[in-house]
Symmetry: C2
């Protein structure tokens, strides 16, 4: 266990899986037919909470949230280091308001610059600054070392789990097949 | 597709999976060894976002968030309809501050009552009220019908996916094996 996650440690681990308990409660309530769906949704919520906790603990010293890290990374990997703000929201599948907020904070921190879009007066371009590139690469190096290098899934299970999650995302229109 | 999720619809679906694009970028940057981990963590974040959007859209008319729904459901299924606030946080694996906040809002809405714990002066008991039970059962019926009954995962895949996610949760100390 990493020391990063202070909510779930061997000391605080529950003796029984709370989602199995919820599944039993659902079944006893006469909702057995939807208990599997409840268990899957609740599992996703908990894994996300555990991973977000680890990720944001690593990003904190870089003064980045995961949302802002993703925006910077997308700009870093774009061919010109710049994208229309609307396009960023589309690629990251997040609310326009959340992207606007993330970009504002990145601008305030000097990691991104905003400029008018010569091709479209209604849209705004966000560009990564040299200090934005430096910050996001340093943050990526820490995330790679402390989280992505060992996320807690057996290597043999990576492909199966990724494929099942991709099916699930595709079923909700996350991308087109 | 449900009409609930307004971020990802067939119209807004990306033509290529953005996580596959990120994986390629990671590999090209020389981080191939951690690209699988990045892809899994990002997959979890996106599935969670999609499911939370659906769940919270269903809960909105009930003036509940998923966090508050979970607190009410836990109290409803508890043998006395009451639990110490600290125990609620433990079972739901959420920050004490988040539970306190959820309980405060439930109390303000008349769905939960707080009382002193006769067994421990430092702890507070939260009890579900009759209107709390009515509200949470109505909300559960809608969630069961609109989300949990068809979460977007093929029935054949439910067990495999649940087991892989349970392994992942257990690896992070979500519960003890």
């Amino acid at each position: 266990m990493s020391s990063i996650d202070h909510r779930a440690t061997p000391e605080t681990a529950l003796r029984t899986d709370p989602i199995e308990t919820a599944r039993r409660n659902w079944t006893d309530a006469g909702w057995a037919d939807v208990a599997d769906g409840m268990a899957l949704v609740t599992s996703i919520m908990r894994v996300q909470q555990l991973m977000l906790g680890r990720v944001e603990a690593v990003l904190k010293p870089f003064e980045l949230t995961f949302a802002r890290f993703e925006v910077l990374m997308l700009l870093h990997f774009s061919s010109r280091g710049a994208l229309p703000v609307g396009k960023i929201g589309e690629r990251l599948q997040v609310h326009p308001a959340s992207v606007t907020n993330a970009v504002q904070r990145l601008v305030a921190a000097g990691l991104v610059e905003r400029s008018a879009n010569p091709a479209d007066a209604r849209s705004v371009i966000a560009s990564i600054t040299p200090s934005g590139r430096e910050r996001v690469l340093a943050a990526a190096a820490r995330l790679n070392a402390e989280v992505f290098g060992d996320v807690g899934v057996e290597a043999d299970d990576h492909d199966a789990l990724f494929a099942l999650l991709a099916d699930w995302r595709a079923a909700h229109g996350d991308f087109r097949r």
